[in-house]
Subunit: 482 residues, 2 copies
């Protein structure tokens, strides 16, 4: 900047807008800088003189100069008046203002739309229409009436919800947990990332069901773990396939994802015994353990003797309420609890406080118990309707290699197809007929793995089961006859 400021003759034209005077003056000066009529180092006219020239109140000019100084366009020098600052020319050329303008600009409000399928059998989508609107609204009303917390909760927060969940887990899953042992996370992905960090799983082997839950595989792989596929059979994961070098094993014993097997108690005990011996961490993803039909609930791995020490249990509101509310719970072995807290503090993955309170109230008021009973009855009937509709088509079901699997629990069953079937192509063709029903392709890493269609029936009304079964039989039949 020049040591001696240059006085310049300045003729300003104020913008004819309705903005505040100081903004209009500042904008006019910035415009002069942009046009090269004012340069860094130039002195602005004395405020009194400029006010007289523009025919405005002097206070407006003083405020405009202050604003230009605050924005960095000018600087006030004692004895030298107000000078244009270094860099002001570049800033003006870039179109930067001295303040935030509130000029209205039309914002288009179009949203992209994708055609929804006529029948959505995508697994993992509960029928949220079964939730009592009264119970739901009451839960949120109660939550919104509570004082808003000024901080995020952190891993030891949400005491009301952790208490309610401890009771829920004991009642529905036989799991005894102190509320302080429970950790709330915004989803199963988050629970897995957190566990991987807490248990130092990066660079180590994790035995993983093959085929298995794609999102879980991705979350663990992104955490740096090496996933070792372990085949499953009609009883789920076989504990005999575990190796001493497995740092952890991921499994879905209540209803294997995707194939639907329920792991018998004998295998559960065997799995725990092996884990205890090798120090392997068992990750029990109990994603839909609340739902089963015509059979008793099998005890969660966590609830079996030795489970507390070796099992990290994961449950979620995704299936019992909706994935859209972003709440899951993690019950790590006590030895890992502090490290889980530390990991969550580092990532800041917390749950919404109001949502936590609403779910706590939904559980404590008995609304969740009522909802689960209602939803189980409905899903059981929808499942039975789809099973019957498929089984009533011998041209489909009598083909070798075709059978239904995983019908006793959860929110989906699998129509197993022969090994040579291109299940993803069949799914794609069903998609063109308005039926969203994924193949097993995305769930297997072994190209020679099992074939089938994932039939989520939670949102399929009984009256529609026959139409869906007919379309499936038709498309599968034509594909296999090619």
């Amino acid at each position: 900047m020049a040591r001696h400021p240059r006085d310049v003759q300045l003729t300003l034209t104020l913008p004819p807008t309705g903005a505040a005077l100081r903004h209009r003056i500042a904008e006019a000066i910035i415009d002069a800088i942009r046009l090269g009529r004012l340069h860094p180092g130039d002195a602005l006219p004395p405020t009194r003189a400029l006010a007289a020239e523009l025919g405005v109140a002097r206070a407006g000019v003083v405020e405009a100069y202050d604003e230009l100084c605050a924005a960095g366009y000018a600087c006030a020098r004692p004895g030298s008046g107000t000078l244009i600052a270094p860099g002001a020319d570049a800033a003006a050329a870039a179109g930067a203002g001295s303040h935030v303008s509130d000029r209205p600009t039309p914002v288009p409000d179009t949203e992209p739309t994708t055609a929804a399928p006529t029948w959505d059998l995508t697994p993992g989508c509960p029928d949220t229409g079964l939730i009592s609107p009264d119970d739901w609204r009451r839960a949120w009303r109660t939550a919104a009436a509570a004082p808003i917390h000024p901080r995020s909760a952190g891993p030891t927060g949400h005491p009301e919800l952790r208490h309610a969940l401890a009771v829920h887990l004991r009642r529905t899953r036989g799991i005894l947990a102190h509320p302080d042992e429970l950790v709330l996370v915004p989803g199963v992905d988050s629970a897995l990332r957190t566990l991987a960090a807490a248990a130092d799983l990066a660079g180590r082997d994790i035995a993983f069901e093959e085929p298995g839950y794609r999102n879980a595989r991705r979350a663990l792989e992104m955490s740096g773990a090496r996933l070792r596929p372990v085949g499953i059979d009609a009883d789920g994961l076989d504990p005999a396939a575990l190796r001493d070098t497995d740092a952890a094993v991921y499994c879905t014993p209540a209803h294997q994802y995707p194939l639907g097997a329920r792991m018998p108690v004998t295998r559960r005990a065997d799995l725990l015994a092996r884990a205890a011996e090798s120090g392997t961490l068992i990750i029990e993803d109990d994603y839909d353990g609340e739902f089963r039909y015509d059979v008793s609930a099998l005890p969660a791995l966590r609830s079996v003797e030795g489970g507390r020490e070796h099992v990290a249990y994961i449950g979620t509101a995704s299936k019992i309420i909706s994935p859209s509310i972003r709440l899951a719970w993690l019950l790590p072995p006590p030895a890992l609890l502090q490290r889980v807290h530390d990991a969550l503090r580092r990532t800041g993955e917390n749950c919404c406080g109001v949502t936590g309170l609403a779910l706590a109230h939904f559980i404590e008021s008995g609304a969740l118990t009522r909802h689960l009973a209602r939803a189980s009855r409905t899903y059981s009937a929808r499942r039975a309707a789809l099973v019957d509709a498929l089984r009533s088509r011998p041209a489909l079901m009598d083909r070798p290699g075709i059978h239904l699997a995983g019908i006793e629990a959860g929110l989906h069953m699998v129509l197993r197809l022969p090994d040579r079937a291109d299940d993803d192509a069949i799914a794609a063709e069903l998609g063109t007929r308005g039926i969203a029903v994924p193949g097993l392709g995305p769930y297997r890493t072994d190209a020679a793995g099992p074939r089938g269609l994932m039939c989520g029936y939670a949102q399929l009304p009984e009256s529609q089961a026959d139409a869906v079964a007919g379309a499936i039989a038709d498309v599968v039949g034509r594909h296999l006859d090619r």
Copy 2:
């Protein structure tokens, strides 16, 4: 298993509980296995015989056998009756049941409590008591009245909130964005992780304010980036310190965190020009850009010409509402938008759907504008009270090296201390006097960096400013006199 099942004489004692008959029979049989009176391969008595012996209905025994088979304790063999399954002894010894028991167990409901400070000046905690309870409850009531979505929203979800935010950003921050360009994430940490993945920042240099926002540093470091500290001065980050090898630069131009500088428009234009030349991504964390006092809002970097192409803008509900609701928004350069969507689909980091609707309604109803006006007035008064209370203590403020910084905007100011001051020790001692006011230690990576106390005044009533200033003057004075 033996090929010829062994018939065993079995005397069962049913548990005297009120559980269902089938559960009691199954438990008695598991108990017999556990005690070694039944072994794998043994045949269970015919259902009719056992029912007669126990004096119960046969249906209960049939159901119990079914349950034992479903749990894997037994298996039904055509022509051989029901046999105890291999592994049943280990499962029984491990205490596994055949079903989930609902025996009541007392769950203690104690929660750990930590003493809250008398005065909490921790920065970043807004005064949520300033939110109108009526507006708040109305927003959640409206959100809870909407149909519950059966899926999580994903990165292109929450159209209502993205539309409301686009209007909010234009009005308050001069940013023109189409709702489809906005991405909702559950926090600033999540926005930074997502950006790091989308822009491939792992293994590359990021220029990072020194001292700087600790959580942002951690989130970027955990994403694998190399953080290169860049000193800040009274105008914030100096664009001249950028290098062509910086893949990105992280900055807080509205109110530098922690020191409070407002980056002048001249520097903003310079920063954008350099970024455009070197291809550096500018990450603008506008964490509290909505709050400023007695000064005009400076244009967001994103709103300046060239900003759209080179700036990833991050805003958050943390300061304008509360961090507890877990909502932030990311406005990446258009060229990165698809990669941001992809990254979020991989991690599944979504926001709660009901919360999104509630915030959308809070904005659209005008409640947010009213709240921001009310909060700004209140924070401005609290800030002025604390500034006055500190400045009225010449024994503190006249010491060399002591001054107030960052008082024009945001929710905190910094009491800068001389270079030799141990700010963290001073903060610790103030903590013992019931004043939570962190030192700068956690924000600097350079041990020779600036000293100071972070004074968040958002929750400090004006009537308490003098007591707090007195304690600060006392503790600081005694530390510096040592």
